[in-house]
């Protein structure tokens, strides 16, 4: 067991997936000789060669579209799009093709691909490098969306995504790529998709988060503890489909819920979770479901991005307001 960053854990998962499964291949811009813009695929081309670690033309729809054909024909491609904001040109191939091949062919053709895509802001990058599109994708039946919040989960979830029989978007919070190191087992392990994790137990309020908003929520929970508020943090891990049971169990205990996400507020996944709680748990609730999110604007320039992304302080203020309601 070694202490790894998230990007190292992802790299290890890719290497082990390729070692164990000859049908696994990675493709994308700069994933080969350059090892990926974030070094997630570093060293893979030296081990597996340029036929399985493929530098492609600069062509997002081409990368995803050909990956669909590779997947339909029995391989398990792991295409990479460099930033989530660059997914827009490939969006048609994702939601109208990858997500629908199984339905269109009544399961004769399937698409077991895993699209790796870094997302999220606060890393001082130019426009369209910071977008969070999980809600757009979650609105498309046929594709799953997974996002890890720590190195251990990154490896286990990525291996599960690669082995999944359906297309998975694996959204990597790029702010967490090198934020922490933790023990990651050397052996192969998978974390079941569609299952949330209680990242911190508490009794007064449930904070539901995923990806980079999990550490933010955990820090806010520490601050709340100093004020005598006990916060439970649920890390969704898979944001489509959402693990409703784990959320309901937690809210049945705390009677209060806050959803934290980096994407804009309106029609975000916070709205979906709030609506689900209203349908399934209205009598458990002692306060309105609150949302701490990005704003309904395009993600701003780096000079002001820290004001856009939910901060520990904003989550803390929401916790206070929710408990006092």
């Amino acid at each position: 067991m070694a202490k790894l960053t998230m990007v190292q854990a992802i790299n290890q998962a890719l290497r082990q997936a390729m070692e164990s499964n000859p049908e696994v291949m990675v493709l994308g811009e700069d994933v080969g000789r350059d090892g990926g813009v974030f070094r997630a695929t570093e060293g893979l081309i030296e081990i597996f060669g340029s036929e399985r670690v493929v530098d492609t033309p600069l062509s997002e729809s081409g990368i995803l579209g050909t990956a669909i054909g590779l997947a339909v024909y029995g391989l398990r491609p792991v295409p990479e799009i460099q930033f989530m904001g660059f997914l827009y040109p490939a969006f048609d191939q994702l939601v109208s093709q990858a997500a629908r091949i199984r339905t269109r062919s009544t399961s004769r053709f399937t698409c077991p691909l895993t699209l790796r895509v870094p997302y999220g802001g606060n890393v001082k990058s130019p426009e369209l490098h910071s977008d969070s599109l999980e809600a757009l994708i979650a609105h498309s039946p046929g594709v799953k969306v997974v996002t890890p919040s720590n190195p251990y989960d990154a490896k286990g979830l990525l291996l599960a995504a690669i082995m999944d029989p359906d297309p998975v978007v694996f959204a990597e919070p790029l702010r967490l790529y090198r934020a922490t190191r933790e023990e990651v087992p050397d052996a192969w392990y998978q974390i079941e998709l569609g299952k949330a994790k209680v990242a911190r137990e508490g009794s007064d309020v449930t904070v539901i988060a995923w990806g980079s908003m999990v550490p933010t929520s955990l820090r806010a929970a520490d601050m709340a503890e100093e004020e005598g508020i006990s916060v439970e943090v649920v890390d969704l891990r898979t944001v489509s489909p959402i693990d409703v049971d784990t959320i309901l169990r937690s809210v049945a205990k705390t009677h209060r819920a806050i959803v934290v996400h980096e994407a804009p507020k309106t029609a975000g996944l916070g709205a979906e979770i709030a609506a689900t709680l209203a349908e399934e748990a209205i009598l458990d609730l002692e306060a309105p479901v609150m949302r701490v999110t990005g704003y309904d604007t395009p993600f701003p320039v780096p000079a002001v991005e820290r004001s856009y992304v939910p901060s520990d302080r904003r989550v803390m203020e929401s916790i206070r307001a929710c408990v006092k309601f």
Partner: protein, 361 residues
């Protein structure tokens, strides 16, 4: 018109004038490829089946017995002959207008009817038939064809892949991204542009200012050819050579087959609004069935009586296929919940239970 030609190392693209061997009058204008008499007759038989299916489907749509249908009349030569050139284990990635090509490659005619009837079986070729599911949005299937051909190459197979699209598709980004990947990764794929002159109401010369569509393939380093798509002999020659290159590991081929859509784009439009009767009358002279019939007559391969029998036989085949299609059971009302993921997600399962309970009331 004098044909200008441009040579390059990979192919020859005659500008203005496509490769032709059999002209509209059924006369050879060049040396015929080696092709057995039986195969010539088979080709014509399938062209007749295609035309008969098409006429029946159009009238069924008018009677409300099938839904929106995209006719093939005029495009039988390129579809039938290119599909005839395939081996059984080669793969086809068709569009929604490639009924005759799909039929030749093994799609049961019953299932061809099921597609415009909106039955899910119409979207799924039988397990042993190597035909991909039809994607309605234009050009989106082209990168899939490239990816599948690439996977076959990676697996060390020596299969060939064929895919089709129209002239309108060449304006889509996915066409260009797919052709670029096909060239870069040298995949075993023959791409056929059925240039039928019209993308719904937009004529070919408004679709692109390029002189030819073939040169778009050439731009990606792919051996590219422009062929008279109503000439079965020319299509046979060019497609056979392309498939041979694919099987030999020599990469992709691009073919612009110049043909004409004699009918509407689909049963939902009226071509009288956008194109002239004069043009249609002129293009009817180039009908692939007419020239093929004339040629077979000249070769003494087919008498008038034998040809009449072929048309009668086609009517029977189409009639039986229709009967089979109309007698197939409709899908279970909840079938659409079952083909989203391999294992339905909890939210789909919950919605399905609610749906079934509501249906039962």
């Amino acid at each position: 018109m004098v044909a200008k030609t441009k040579s390059n190392a990979k192919g020859v693209i005659p500008r203005y004038s496509p490769i032709q061997i059999l002209n509209s009058e059924g006369e050879l204008t060049g040396p015929s490829p080696e092709i057995k008499d039986e195969l010539l007759l088979e080709i014509y038989k399938y062209m007749i089946l295609g035309r008969t299916f098409d006429q029946r489907a159009l009238s069924l749509q008018r009677q409300g017995r099938i839904g929106t249908y995209a006719p093939i009349s005029g495009q039988e030569a390129v579809q039938v002959v290119s599909a005839m050139c395939l081996k059984e284990d080669d793969w086809m990635f068709p569009t929604y207008r490639d009924y005759a090509a799909m039929y030749v490659h093994g799609m049961p005619m019953r299932d061809l009817f099921l597609f415009p009837m909106g039955h899910p079986q119409g979207g799924r070729a039988p397990q042993n038939v190597n035909i991909y599911a039809i994607s309605i949005s234009i050009a989106t299937h082209l990168p899939h064809a490239v990816g599948a051909a690439w996977a076959s190459k990676i697996k060390g197979e020596s299969k060939a892949f064929i895919t089709y699209h129209g002239d309108g598709a060449t304006s889509e980004g996915d066409f260009h991204e797919a052709m670029n990947f096909a060239g870069v990764f040298q995949v075993p794929l023959v791409t056929i542009c059925e240039n039928n002159g019209w993308a719904i109401s937009l004529p070919r010369d408004h679709q692109t200012h390029s002189e030819t569509i073939a040169q778009k393939g050439e731009a990606y380093g792919i051996p590219s050819f422009m062929v008279d798509g109503n000439d079965p002999l020319a299509v046979y020659k060019v497609v056979t050579e392309g498939l041979e290159r694919a099987r030999a590991g020599e990469g992709p081929t691009f073919i612009e087959a110049v043909t004409y859509r004699l009918g509407p784009h689909t049963t939902a439009d009226d071509p009288g609004r956008y194109r002239s009767q004069e043009e249609l009358d002129q293009m009817k002279q180039k009908d692939p069935l007419v020239r093929t019939s004339l040629y077979l007559r000249k070769l003494n391969l087919l008498s008038e009586a034998e040809e009449a029998a072929m048309w009668e036989e086609a009517k029977t085949v189409v009639g039986e296929a229709l009967k089979a299609a109309e007698s197939i059971a409709p899908p279970e009302p909840d079938f659409f919940f079952h083909h989203v993921y391999e294992e339905p997600t909890p939210n789909i399962l919950k919605q399905m239970r609610e749906f079934v309970a509501e249906e039962a009331e």
